[in-house]
């Protein structure tokens, strides 16, 4: 299999994931986007591992780590989404915090 194929797919996955993170309003979709980006990296790693015929299989081992990390990330992410849901009542991710004025009143000493 030519190297180009997994690379192109990985690029597509990453782009898709980034799009989801940036544009989707629903928290779960955002988490999915993150997952996609991580998997794009994993795909690359595996592909390069094969291409290099890496005897120590660095790519594969890192992929394993990435899978574990992704799980941890999603776990944490879902927990936060849950807490958010409890606090605000929906899982739309924008406008969670009303933009507060950070400029307190008071005399400007300097």
């Amino acid at each position: 299999m030519p190297l180009m194929l997994p690379l192109v797919v990985s690029c597509g996955l990453f782009g898709l994931g980034l799009y989801a993170v940036l544009a989707r309003r629903h928290a779960v979709m955002v988490l999915l986007g993150i997952e996609l980006m991580l998997n794009a990296a994993s795909l690359n790693l595996v592909a390069f591992d094969t291409w290099w015929a890496d005897t120590v299989h660095t790519g594969q081992s890192l992929t394993l780590f990435v899978i574990a990390l992704a799980a941890a990330e999603i776990g944490l992410g879902l927990a936060i989404v849950l807490a958010l849901f409890r606090a605000v009542g929906n899982s739309d991710v924008d406008g969670q915090e009303p933009p507060t004025s950070l400029l307190a009143e008071g005399g400007d000493e300097l």
Binding site: L18, V21, L22, V93, D94, G95, Q96, P98, P99, L103
Partner: protein
Amino acid sequence: MNRRYSASAVGITAVMAVCAAVVAFPRLGDDTGPYGLPAGRTTTLVDGGDLLGVSVTFYVDHLSAVMLLLAATVGLLVQVYSVAYLAGDARYRSYTTIIQLFLVAMATVVVADNLWLLVVGWEVMGLCSYLLISHHWELAPARAGAVKAFLLTRIGDLGLLVAVFAIGQTFGTYEISEVLTAMASPDAPEGLTAIGLLLVVAVIGKSAQFPLHTWLADAMPGPTPISALIHAATMVAAGVFLVARLYPVLAESAVTMTVLAVVACVTMLLAALLALTSGDLKRVLAWSTVSQLAYMFAALSVGGYDAGIDHLLSHGAFKALLFLVAGSVAHAIGSTALRDMGGLRVAMPLTFLTGTIGFAALAGVVPTVGFFSKDAVLESAWHAIGHDAPVAPLVAVVVLVVGLVTAAVTVVYSFRAWSMTFVGHGAPARASVAVHEAPPLMVGPLVVLAAATLLLSLAMPFDLLMGLVTTAIVVAAGWLAWRTMSAGRDPASLLGPAQPAFTRELDWDLGYAGAGVVARRAGDLVTATDRDVIGFYPRAAAATSVWLSRVLARAQSGNAQTYVTVLAAGALLTTLLVVVR
């Protein structure tokens, strides 16, 4: 109150005068002329190091001695005179103190060997002049005159400053005696025109020569004894002294001497004409001082070193006398305007007598000292034609002609002032209180100075031919003035249509006023620039920072996706940065 101070003031001045006399008399014989090796005595008190070149060293010769004696005598007489003149003045104490400071400064100038010491004395004199002119600081003319005097003389002083730099650079020393020695040696430096011209600038300021001549007349609101001391006998004559002191340096360059001669000629005649048209006795005297100082410069410029010094001495005596006379008159009638005077000869006989001697000397009437010294000046111009003089013969001719014309004008204005003051009848009739003779403490100095005006003649040279010429001029001009006066016309009207212009003193002050306006406008411009141009940048920077700060705070919307967008865009852009590099 004042009596206690006055005793000590006069006492201290007397002690100073005695000291001056002790220093001066032994050196009167050191008269080696301008070009000789310095014959005076040099004394070093403090040596200030090589780099700065300031040391306290004294150089006393004939010239210094003459000046010292003049200053000490007039100073002492003025102090005595002031006891009566300023009796009851609240500021008598500071007045006498400043006079003493002035005398010290004047003495410093004339005995200094180190040029920096001379500069110190020179400018302290200017300060004293400023302070004394503004003695009556409640009066606007006194304040204005003082400022004007200080600023115009300061222009000259800057010339002196640079001249001293140049001397130091050229001669490698700041000691006058060493400069003179260098000039007397065969390998004297050449190309001293710049130094000479700078020195001319210095004396133009200090001695109120054209074009900086107007300050002296405006200095007249000061107390009259001060006018006698500072603005007639001593400080203004310091310019003449400086030229005489550094004579070889100036005389090395014909250009310098020609410039000096031209300045002197212009000033001489101009000031005489201004004196003719002035309506104020003190202003007449002030202009005449300017005119007479120009005589001295004229003499020096054509090589008449001794004539210049002699005229300085004689002028010091008779002009001090005239100013004190004017003070006596002013003290009696409370005004110095000529139209307020007239007929004072009866009420103030002694003042009249001494005043007459003084005016006669000013006009150059035989046998007053003024006759002899002015003749000497004119004779030196005559002598310079065709002989080895520092200036071209043509210049000497001009000096001679202008000198003779000015002599005639001098006679006319002297006669005019004298007769408007003492002859006829006016002041006693108009005065609200009885006019009577001045107190003895004022009359005393008048008598002493009048005697000096007559007796100094004995020390003066005499040239018969020039004496006859000038006497003829005196007679003719006197007759003309007398005819005009007895016809009931002001001799000033002899100027014809030019008279109003001279009465306005040729509007010369407009120039200074214009300079002042320009400076103030420039000041406004600078202030505005500081505020709106230079100040704009820091203000704009601060405002921009604050604005950006608010924008940044507002950008913290709390929206995670906005943040990630920025993050991704940032990653992209920074990556591009690396690629483009």
